[in-house]
């Protein structure tokens, strides 16, 4: 085997990783990857960085790339804050293994909103994240509602606030909002074009930047880009943008959120 695609639930993956280590196969692992940094490290052990990737395919969304360039190049001024909102009243939860804490590993954050958390960190080119406070509601060990405040350290060393609302109990904005000095931009990761739009700032100024985007605009295109980069990385030895080592900060954020909110531990959790 050259590549193993691990899509079993979080709590039932060890055999897949073990087989890959034993056979020397590379691994593309479905999200979620790990609840703690140490667990992330444990899984990574035995794989060269370019040979272990996580399916955070939304990083390939054209709108995500454009949003990231807005942060980096600053046409609307420096980034002053980020909010990550996911879910809404009655957002589909549970069903099958997703209702089983041992298998699912977590609830809304871990199995669904992890894409949005990951994208928030990816777009902002975050270097560190620190959760200041977090409150959660749980059902059968699974998180179903999270409200948190964190700070993100950007590439230029500035700390900006990250506001998090992930819920199946209350309505959210269902988007990632980037507040720049002159303008706010909203990204809707689950719309095919990313739904990147500038928000009115009170000056009557509002426009959509969707037409300006190039790149992946559909799930198929995102997956094609991800797998192309993964395959090329196997040949070149260069880890792509979804290499497991490049998703550490996402795991860090998840670990901090669960720890801060006093979430029940999972059998696979290993902590520092």
């Amino acid at each position: 085997m050259d590549i193993i695609l691990v899509t079993t639930p979080y709590g039932a993956r060890e055999a897949g990783y073990r087989t890959a280590r034993e056979t020397g196969a590379a691994v593309m692992a479905e999200k979620p990857f790990a609840r703690t940094l140490v667990r992330h490290q444990e899984i990574s052990r035995g794989f060269e960085p370019h040979r272990l990737c996580v399916c955070h395919q939304r990083r390939y969304l054209a709108a995500a790339g454009l949003a990231r360039s807005l942060v980096r190049e600053g046409p609307f001024g420096p980034l002053t804050g980020v909010s990550c909102h996911f879910g809404g009243v009655g957002h589909r939860l549970g069903g099958g293994y997703a209702s089983d804490f041992a298998l699912a590993g977590g609830g809304l954050i871990f199995n669904l909103a992890v894409h949005d958390l990951d994208l928030s960190l990816f777009i902002t080119d975050a270097r560190r994240v620190a959760v200041r406070e977090a409150s959660m509601e749980f059902e059968s060990g699974l998180d179903i509602h999270t409200r948190a405040a964190a700070s993100v350290t950007l590439a230029d060393g500035r700390d900006i606030p990250l506001t998090i609302l992930l819920s199946a109990l209350v309505e959210t904005e269902r988007s990632i909002r980037l507040d720049f000095e002159k303008l706010s931009v909203r990204l809707r990761p689950y719309q095919s074009d990313g739904g990147l739009e500038a928000l009115t700032t009170g000056s009557g100024f509002a426009f959509r930047v969707g037409e300006m985007q190039t790149g992946a605009r559909s799930m198929n295109q995102m997956l094609a880009q991800m797998w192309t980069e993964f395959r090329d990385g196997l040949a070149s030895g260069v880890p792509g943008r979804v290499a497991a080592r490049h998703t550490l900060l996402t795991t860090d954020l998840i670990e901090q959120l669960y720890a801060k909110a006093g979430a029940p531990g999972h059998p696979l959790d290993t902590v520092r």
């Binding site: 050259d2 020397g24 196969a25 590379a26 940094l37 140490v38 992330h40 490290q41 990574s44 052990r45 794989f47 060269e48 960085p49 040979r51 054209a62 790339g65 009243v89 009655g90 589909r92 939860l93 549970g94 069903g95 997703a98 209702s99 960190l121 080119d125 975050a126 270097r127 560190r128 509601e137 059902e139 059968s140 699974l142 179903i144 590439a155 199946a168 309505e171 719309q191 190039t214 790149g215 992946a216 559909s218 198929n220 295109q221 997956l223 094609a224 880009q225 192309t228 980069e229 260069v238 880890p239 792509g240 943008r241 290499a243 080592r245 490049h246 550490l248 900060l249 860090d252 520092r272």
Partner: protein, 346 residues
């Protein structure tokens, strides 16, 4: 007071209808969900929740015994064959466990009534989509199972459902629906409030058990619905409006009849024929998805396939990260020894 049970009360329509029923004085509502995770939102809103398991007939019988009306508001998903299987399993279990005194309501869709023949073959009432076919199957199955057990049954064919919690309504409010840029024709919509009214009427016996199509009349336009949710305004005119469909005035010649019949081949195959051959349907669905993916990938410019930007996450030596220096280092720098695997043949 009549008691109504809603199966699938944690779904989008089921939840809003349950909430609307719960604030009425004339009925009581019980929310049926599969497990505590699914029912969390119902309990949050203070609904009376019961959990059900279709593999436990005696448990279902106990759960349904004090109900006057039981409503299936579950949403089947998957291929046509998978939808049929799920509908059949649920209806067989539920109607097998319910008593005669509990009437049953199956929620269907107006999609089952749309004539695929259009203006040329208006009499050809075959389901045009797998979803419509599944709902038509559900209608028939519910009727047959209920009649066999002497249970009164109704079918509610719903238009596009709008409400405060409905994604289509929220999208309208957020301005995500292109139709808002111009008024557009009146649409086939129904509000959750109307569905709740209908269920109340059936539970109390104010309406006989039968098959109903629920559409709001006069017909609403999408921009009017958006205005309703934005500021509570309602259309000024309440006069009936045309449906928006236009009947072709040209005569239906044999040539046009033949063409119209040919146009039905694909929808008929996908909604009527293929569900009877699940294996073939699954293979064709896979081939179709491959074709779609190939088309989308071919449209992707080579220039944007590759990532040229360096990613740096974390800086070694920062507080709190010192225990993880091996994989938090610059990912494009020299590989830390801990990650070089001995014996890895690749």
């Amino acid at each position: 007071m009549k008691r109504i049970g809603i199966i699938g009360a944690n779904g989008q329509v089921g939840l809003e209808v349950s909430l609307l029923l719960s604030v009425r004085d004339d009925v009581e509502v019980v929310a049926f969900c599969r497990n505590p995770v699914a029912s969390a939102v119902c309990r949050r809103f203070g609904l009376d929740v019961r959990h059900y398991n279709i593999a436990d007939p005696s448990g279902l019988t106990r759960a349904f015994e004090d109900l006057d009306l039981l409503v299936d508001m579950t949403l089947p998903v998957g291929t046509a064959a998978e939808m049929r299987l799920a509908i059949d399993k649920l209806l067989t279990a539920v109607l097998g466990a319910a008593s005669k005194k509990t009437a049953f309501v199956y929620t269907s869709s107006v999609a089952v009534t749309i004539a695929p023949g259009g203006p040329v073959l208006p009499f050809l009432f075959l389901p045009r989509t797998p979803y419509a076919a599944a709902k038509r199957f559900g209608e028939a199955r519910a009727g047959k199972l209920a009649r066999a057990r002497g249970i009164a049954v109704s079918v509610l064919r719903l238009g596009q459902v709008h409400g405060r919690l409905q994604a289509v309504s929220l999208d309208l409010l957020a301005g995500k629906t292109p139709a808002l840029e111009e008024p557009g024709p009146p649409t086939c919509v129904v509000f959750c409030r109307t569905i709740a009214d209908a269920l109340s009427a059936l539970a109390e016996g104010r309406e006989p058990h039968d098959r109903y199509t629920l559409l709001s009349e006069p017909r609403w336009r999408l921009d009017e619905i958006a205005a309703l949710y934005a500021d509570g305004s309602v259309p000024a005119s309440t006069a009936p409006r045309p449906s928006g469909s236009t009947r072709d005035a040209r005569p239906a010649t044999p040539h046009r009849w033949a063409r119209a019949l040919l146009d039905q081949v694909k929808p008929l195959a996908s909604s009527v024929v293929l569900p009877r051959f699940p294996g073939l349907e699954a293979r064709l669905a896979t081939r179709w998805r491959h074709a779609v993916a190939a088309g989308e990938i071919a449209a992707l410019p080579d220039a944007v396939r590759y990532w040229s930007e360096r990613i740096v996450l974390g800086t070694p030596g920062e507080p709190g990260m010192s225990s993880l220096p091996d994989i938090r280092a610059d990912p494009f720098g020299p590989e830390p020894p801990a990650l070089i695997v001995k014996g890895n043949p690749k």
